[in-house]
């Protein structure tokens, strides 16, 4: 009854012709398919491909594991005691992470773990090509999760007028040991009046390089402590834990508390473009950074991410407090 009355309203057959017209129009327009292994669709730079772990930030609070709807985060660890360091100082217990794994065969990429982590230990990385022939290999252990950190983009610049995070460390900045040569780069450091300077990062060094160097320095410390412990005859497990703790201390000592340092300050690095840069110039910066990265032998994808970050910084420079 109902559809009959509807039929009477429209002139008979026009709907059919209209439908045929639509399919014909779609047939002659261009297909949207991207032939994946041959061509790669340009993904948004912050697409959610895989979750990276920044191990030194993790406090084993277990929030992520508990909030994960799929229960696919596995965290194991143990407590360690540090004796009192002197008169009036308390003994302290802290957690040491032994295992942190995400089973990507279960993960549904909801991102709750990244959202919920209070210590900025989990990040989204745009990498997505980690399919496996064996499902057990989809459980990424700590090393692999940390490895993804290389592909995480630096945080986006702050909005106009937004205040950066308070950085408490008033202590003189000690560059990480490995960063020393780079620190010698001729960069007249002139601090902007507004926000505090990006501590720790020597001028002329890109964000990502800095992160890497710091990590390298930390690893050196860890290895040293580990060997000492073993030499002392400690159990490997203990040695492992202690060296890790040492690494964390070493990093904490050399670093500002927020990391990676958000590029809010107009750090006057020579590679950094001047304020008032047009979109075209920013694109040029991006190309340059990209070529440099490739020349350094970086993975094209990483070069891509870094150059994009550089471009973003360049553009923001036009709006920042300095400009």
């Amino acid at each position: 009854m109902n559809d009959e009355s509807k039929l009477k309203k429209a002139t008979f057959g026009t709907g059919l012709l209209k439908g045929l017209g639509i399919t014909m129009r779609h047939m002659v327009s261009k297909a949207v398919t991207v032939q994946y292994p041959d061509e790669i669709a340009p993904l948004p730079p912050r697409s959610r491909g895989v979750i990276a772990l920044k191990e030194e930030n993790c406090t084993m609070c277990m929030l992520c594991a508990r909030e994960c709807p799929d229960w696919c985060i596995y965290i194991e660890g143990h407590k360690e005691r540090r004796e009192s360091r002197g008169e009036g100082k308390r003994a302290k217990a802290f957690n040491v992470l032994d295992r942190f794994a995400i089973d990507y065969a279960l993960c549904m990429y909801c991102g709750i773990c990244v959202e919920v982590c209070p210590y900025d230990a989990l990040f989204w990385s745009p990498e997505f090509e980690y399919a496996e022939g064996d499902i057990t290999r989809l459980t990424h252990e700590m090393e692999r999760l940390e490895d993804w950190m290389r592909t995480v983009l630096p945080p986006s610049p702050l909005d106009d007028g937004a205040k950066g995070p308070e950085i408490k460390s008033a202590a003189p900045v000690v560059p990480a040991p490995a960063a020393a040569p780079a620190a010698a780069a001729p960069a007249p450091v002139e601090t902007a009046p507004g926000p505090p300077p990006a501590a720790g990062r020597p001028a002329g060094m890109s964000e990502a390089e800095f992160v890497e160097q710091r990590a390298a320095a930390g690893r050196l410390v860890r290895q040293k402590v580990y060997e000492e412990e073993i030499a002392k005859g400690s159990e490997p497990r203990i040695a492992e834990a202690r060296s890790k703790a040492a690494e964390m201390r070493a990093r904490k000592a050399t670093l500002p508390e927020t990391e990676p340092a958000p590029p809010v300050t107009p750090a006057p690095a020579p590679s950094r473009p001047a304020a008032g840069m047009s979109a075209a110039d920013a694109a040029a910066v991006r190309r340059k950074v990209y070529e440099e990265e490739i020349a350094k032998g970086s993975d094209p994808r990483i070069a891509e991410a870094r150059s994009k970050a550089a471009e973003l910084r360049a553009r923001k420079g036009t709006k920042g407090p300095g400009g």
Partner: protein, 334 residues
């Protein structure tokens, strides 16, 4: 006397070879039509469709599919009626292929120019119903049985408008021979003059006869999982369903092209230099494309709508069409 006989013999052997060749060409033709359908459907959905098999735009995709089907294990459930089950692909294929015996590719390029060619074509095209019903019964599966019954109900319902629309054409041309019908449309196809309504009815009924969307209730994948062919696998599936469907589709398009578009007859006297088979292929191809186009545009009709459409719309319309054709013929207007 002897020479004439010799002449005829030689000729008929050559002709026989040619005619067998036409039937043998049907299998590759199904591959081509299948490929075209894959591509057309993909592009209508903004996709590219097959792109890898055969390196160039996936031209070998249907061939690869066919080879894959041949390699697969042929599974038969324990309760199936094995003899009937195994005969089905032959029946459906045969029913679909036999139409080509009377379809003229050119004035003389016809395997058998029967006086009752049209009658023959419609008669053999309904053989495949038996195959589908048998498949539904022999499979011992409720979906298959439902599909078989739906197919039987639908094919019987739509056979009527199909035959009635064709009858009007036979009246118009004054002959049941397909060659004479084509000749009667020299330069003015029936679809444009005298039988446009019949053409539309025939198209709708033919779509239903080959069980394609919007009349694909018997095979509706989403509800009864290709209906009568649920239990079929491997070669039997490829031939009983795919090849038979595509051959039936080509056959129906060829028949419609001959009945309403003039088959091998050129559309304009000025274009007579283009050979008949080319015209025939162009017209058949256009109708095949139309069927594909319709399939990827319209949704499936419900079973009751489907029956209503046949009995309450198409059959009365085709009777009116016959009446008008007869009246006009008597009045010498056409």
């Amino acid at each position: 006397m002897v020479t004439t006989l010799h002449h005829i013999l030689a000729n008929s052997i050559v002709l026989l070879a040619l005619k067998l060749g036409i039937l043998l060409l049907l299998l590759p033709a199904t591959l081509v039509v299948g490929y075209v359908e894959l591509k057309v459907m993909a592009h209508m959905q903004h996709r590219l469709g097959p792109m890898y098999a055969g390196a160039y735009h996936g031209w070998a995709q249907t061939l690869a599919d066919g080879l894959k089907f041949i390699q697969k294990e042929d599974i038969m459930a324990a309760a199936t009626d094995r003899t009937v089950f195994s005969m089905v692909p032959y029946i459906t294929m045969l029913g679909a292929a036999l139409t080509f015996v009377v379809i003229p590719f050119s004035r003389h390029g016809v395997i058998a120019n029967l006086d009752i060619g049209l009658f023959y074509a419609l008669a053999v095209s309904s053989i495949s119903v038996i195959g589908v019903l048998a498949a539904g019964w022999a499979s011992a599966n409720k979906y298959s049985l439902m599909g078989g019954l739906r197919a039987a109900a639908q094919l019987i319902a739509y056979e009527l408008p199909l035959v009635l629309a064709a009858a009007a054409v036979a009246m118009q041309a004054g002959s049941l021979s397909l060659v004479s019908i084509a000749e009667a449309q020299r330069y003015v196809p029936f679809a444009l003059w005298a039988q446009p309504l019949g053409f539309l009815i025939f198209l709708a009924a033919a779509t239903a006869e080959v069980s394609r969307t919007p009349f694909d209730m018997p095979v509706a994948e989403a509800e009864i999982i290709t209906g009568a062919f649920t239990e079929y696998s491997a070669m039997k599936f490829a031939f009983g369903l795919f090849a038979a469907e595509y051959i039936a589709m080509i056959g129906m398009s060829a028949l419609a092209a001959t009945l309403f578009l003039g088959g091998y007859v050129p559309l304009l006297p000025q274009l007579r230099f283009v050979p008949g088979p080319v015209w025939f292929l162009i017209k058949t191809g256009l109708l095949i494309f139309l069927l594909i186009w319709i399939r990827w545009t319209f949704p499936r009709l419900r079973e009751d709508q489907l029956q209503k459409f046949a009995w309450k719309v198409l059959i009365p319309l085709s009777l009116v069409n016959i009446f008008v054709t007869g009246a006009l013929k008597l009045a010498h207007w056409t």
